[in-house]
């Protein structure tokens, strides 16, 4: 017959084993649930290779200012004298598209610069102002449009009724 002390020791060991088991189970289930929160579709276990999820800065390219067919690729500006001065001063606050879609003579571009300095926090351009104005007036000068243009760039298609 076992002594009461022995029986207590046995029960204590059994309880401790059970506690251990519950703890391990808890870790397993908990770990799985945490994983499910991050990846609810279990995409990591699907065979299709996943693109890297971490945003990686593009590697330093030596052709950052590449020019192709006379166009500065990064901004869309036309290649010409003063190009990089324009890129460096006119694309910090707004898109290059705001420049390239407009057409003005030298006076108009100079007034636009003055307006940006008075109201939009543009800095003093110093000697660069003439370089910028000359470039813009040369490559982004107004064309003749008349009072109404012909319809252009029509993509013809057969209309099915």
């Amino acid at each position: 017959m076992e002594t009461p002390g022995n029986s207590f020791e046995q029960s204590a060991r059994a309880i401790s084993r059970m506690m251990g088991l519950i703890f391990v189970m808890f870790l397993l289930v908990g770990g799985f649930l945490v994983y499910l929160m991050i990846d609810p579709t279990l995409s990591a276990f699907q065979s299709e290779p996943e693109p890297t999820l971490i945003a990686v800065a593009p590697p330093e390219e030596d052709d950052f200012d590449k020019i192709e067919n006379g166009i500065h690729l990064r901004t869309g500006f036309v290649e010409g004298e003063g190009l990089m001065t324009v890129v460096n001063n006119c694309t910090n606050c707004h898109s290059a598209k705001l420049v390239t879609q407009n057409r003005m003579d030298a006076d108009g571009w100079r007034k636009t610069i003055k307006w940006m300095q008075e109201t939009q926090n543009l800095w003093d351009l110093g000697k660069n102002e003439d370089i910028i104005v000359d470039y813009l007036a040369m490559y982004y000068a107004p064309g003749k449009k008349g009072r109404r243009l012909n319809l252009t760039n029509i993509q013809w298609y057969v209309l099915e009724e």
């Binding site: 929160m37 991050i38 990846d39 609810p40 579709t41 995409s43 299709e48 996943e50 693109p51 999820l53 971490i54 945003a55 606050c93 707004h94 898109s95 598209k97 705001l98 879609q101 407009n102 057409r103 003005m104 108009g108 636009t112 109201t119 939009q120 926090n121 107004p142 003749k144 449009k145 008349g146 009072r147 109404r148 243009l149 319809l151 029509i154 993509q155 013809w156 298609y157 057969v158 209309l159 009724e161």
Partner: protein, 406 residues
Amino acid sequence: MNRRKFVQNSGLGAMAALLGTEIVFGHTLPKGYLPLGLQDPDPFKMFDKNPEMLVLNDKPWNIESLAHLLDDRITPNRSMFIRNNGIIPQEIDLATWTLTFDGESVERKKSYSLAELKSRFSQHTYQLTIECGGNGRSEFNPPAKGNQWSVGAVHSAEWTGVRLRDVLEDVGITSDAVYIGFHAADTHLSGDPKKEPISRGFPIAKAMQDETLLAFQMNGKDIPLAHGYPLRLVAGGWPASTSGKWLTGISVRDRVHDGPKMTGDSYRVPCLPVAPGTEVAEEDMCIIESMPVKSLITYPKTGATIAQGKSLSFRGHAWAGELEVTRMEYSIDFGSTWKECTLEAPANRLAWQHFSGETRFPQKGYYEVWVRATDSRGNAQPMVLPGWNPKGYLNNACHRIAVKVS
């Protein structure tokens, strides 16, 4: 599965993990909204726009629709142009968002939470036509400075909200009130936190109209972020710049509001007509109020080729700012002769009206279908460019589509 989809399918925890920081107020993020830090560089996905639309500017975002994309009777978000003067706000907390009324002509300064606005005032829904003042700018000669809009900077969606008038009456305004000016949560391109990108407004009479809303829904859903979530001032029939997005404040003024883009030559035209290219002094420029009569052929898309002997059905919308369109005509002979279109009444005041017509062509060849609307005061759309103005506003020249009969 791409990165965007992964982000959408995952919970806040995953988004926070990708951003490397906790998303404070994450629980109030609108469903399906991606924090800007995770936004796709593809603007059509980011703003849920039709990929045929034209990006005029990506800093700030300005995206134009096309005539044939505006065929719906009520414009869906997918086809709505985006016009921004500043940077779209990034942190929007519905729980702490307030609309504050101040200015010389309020009895006392007063603020409302979004919940208070929704629960304390009766709600109304109107279809309202909003057109950018510079829609059509690209045609002016000499050219006018700014985003070069063609025809697609207009839409007519359904807006739901409370009447500005009801809230102004609750605030209490004094008898010397002349104008209201809005303030918003967007930020200046230069990054200067003290500068407002745009703060425009309109006279008290416009503020008191039934249809002038503080809107929190567009087409029955939360307003999309690019269109002013969570609160937008909507003034149908007036330049879209008066419908302030991301609304945080209204100043009730005892003078014409003088916020950014109210003064100088912004949203102003010469008070008296001038010859093209004329330099106009600031004091001779007047603020644009109601937009002029205009129309758009939304079906078929320009460039249709049809067989000889077949008839062509066409349709579109017409609008006239504060007024109604009373007559709609079309011409297939470059304006020599005009025939009537069928014209519907608007769903409500300041909503665009639908027109339709059917025509046959006498022989093979190249044609243009032109349409012109006439408003209730007898003003019709011009065939050529209307009065030149320094900033290229209010081009309501008739819309044209090309058709070939073979």
